[in-house]
Symmetry: C2
Subunit: 351 residues, 2 copies
């Protein structure tokens, strides 16, 4: 464990590459303790991703990229690098940013084949840092585009953590909140606590307190009453994978918020970088949904809730159909329906 | 504390009157510990209701009735009895069964004015036991009417605890589950955990395990994915107060389930005895909604979740509009829209 908090260009970041390791905030310990882990190998990074020490689709993409740098420290043999990439890719199934970042890293690796190991390592580190820096820069663009959508004096509803901790260091949906707050457009954030792992109550609350942005935590099931009472003017959510037609996988509960927002005619925005788009997935049906262990539901903060012998159903994500999404806020601007056209136009790889 | 578990006519009951006190299961300690409290005074009963040692609209009505028996042990002076009734009535605002039971007890008290204290006490105890017995009998009727609504081989979704613990000793929505299970119509119960106090994961699970009925607990926000996947054929919820037009106040999150059920064309049934109907409330707007302290949200099972300084919004109930309710299952049968007509016809006091 190290004591220095990760930062990137003096922005709080959930992780940062140091000389021979990745310094990574253990998000499972927040807000109680701020612990910075020292991740020195690919397998340590895989474990950190699986146990959600680092989480959030953009952040785990960056973690995977740095994981490839760690791999190259042991060996730059192509088989070794390919194995490392596969181990990282398999760490979690739903967020597409993981595979996207790994494909970029493997591309750089192949482009430098035949170079010396130290040149290869330098090229990989440069690419990982570029992915990290681009994410922060993209988030800031996203924040500006998103804030423009919001009316003055508004309150917004969020789910999960979509801030600095979930990204390179600024935030997607919470990046829009930061930008709107800076523009004095925002009155209050209502933050769904986000069971089972409580990323809203633990992590969004931690970030919002640091920014001095007024907020209230609510249980996820109170979102219906909140919307019925007209307390929010927009719902802002992140994304783990966006299909070509706009269907969006995100934290379990997101779909419910979209259905409620539609009933109450409150705009529901997905806020995510283009790296979250999976052009190979034609619709939400093609997105793999991670089911996690029952103990996350049957316990809260590690303490048993349900009686011994109880079973649980614990999908970590759900899919919101495109028809419920008013706009997708990306670094390329706000994409609007028909998403089958606007998403490929904005997100197809450039020549 | 006593060791004998409360029962009424050998049915598990959340409470039972003994010689000089009420034996009451402390539902805040379940499922970890089965503790039976000894409640000997009105003020102890008020505290038990407020801190949810006894909860569930029908159960707190019965608790209030026995509370009046406890009051009569101290004195049968009319001012004393009126004060006791007001203290019990004010213990919690949303469930109408509390006031309904107290009005019955006060009616019996007034009908016996001038009698000896021991005659008065006996009459009050008889009325409280009648309220208790009628609730169980009504629940069993409700169970039969509700089970008739369900298709063979169905699975159902529930919220909060609506079983023996929430009633005189059988259950409303969980009473329908019991009856359907006995008829071999039921495959599985999906039980929303029901934050903030987790009555689903703690209490419904405890009752279902005892009955050997297959179930899975889910976080409340997973209900959207559950319904989207077609895993349940009905949603069964209890009620704390039903307005004359059918609008229904129940545990926070109920409204969200109703909106989701409507989207997925799954019937949404309110299951409650006629004592839950408030004919004086023209619509849901007339129902007072209890807001409870922020600590219930900011902590889970007493353990701090959110960082110090975080605020919370914690309504304990929400209102489901009548238009989303496919039927209200009462001991008088299944009431259908237009509720403005069917509710008063079924639930108006008889001459």
């Amino acid at each position: 464990m190290t004591s220095r908090i990760p930062s990137f260009d003096s922005v709080l970041s959930p992780l940062d590459y140091r000389d021979d390791h990745v310094a990574l905030i253990d998000q499972t310990a927040l807000p109680g303790r701020l612990e910075v882990l020292r991740i020195a190998t690919v397998s340590e990074m895989v474990v950190a991703i699986q146990r959600l020490a680092v989480r959030g689709a953009p952040a785990i993409g960056i973690a995977a990229a740095y994981g490839m740098v760690l791999a190259s420290r042991a060996s730059c043999a192509p088989e070794h690098m390919a194995e490392a990439a596969e181990a990282l890719r398999a760490a979690r199934p739903t967020a597409v940013n993981l595979g996207w970042a790994l494909d970029r890293m493997l591309g750089v690796f192949r482009a430098h084949e035949g170079r010396s190991q130290s040149e290869l390592r330098a090229a990989l580190l440069e690419e990982a840092r570029r992915i990290h820096a681009e994410d922060i820069e993209g988030n800031k663009q996203i924040g500006r585009f998103g804030a423009d959508l919001l009316p003055n004096g508004c309150s917004v509803l969020t789910i999960c953590n979509t801030g600095a901790l979930a990204t390179g260091g600024y935030g997607t949906a919470l990046g829009v909140v930061r930008a709107a707050w800076a523009q004095k457009k925002l009155t209050r954030v209502y933050a769904c606590e986000t069971r089972p792992l409580l990323q809203g109550a633990r992590l969004n609350a931690w970030e919002l307190l640091q920014e001095g942005i007024p907020f209230r935590v609510l249980v996820d099931s109170a979102a219906g009453a909140l919307l019925a009472q007209g307390r929010v003017q927009a719902v802002l959510v992140g994304a783990d994978r966006i299909a070509r037609n706009g269907d969006t996988a995100n934290k379990i509960g997101t779909y419910t918020l979209a259905v409620l927002a539609a009933r109450h005619r409150v705009p529901f925005y997905v806020v995510a970088p283009a790296s979250t788009v999976d052009l190979r997935a034609a619709s939400g049906e093609a997105i793999p949904i991670e089911e996690r262990g029952p103990e996350e539901v049957l316990a809260a903060l590690g303490r048993q809730v349900a009686p011994q012998g109880a079973e649980a159903w614990n999908p970590a994500f759900d899919v919101t159909p495109a028809e419920l999404i008013a706009g997708i806020v990306s670094e390329h601007g706000v994409l609007r329906p028909p998403y089958e056209e606007t998403i490929p136009a904005a997100c197809a790889p450039r020549a």
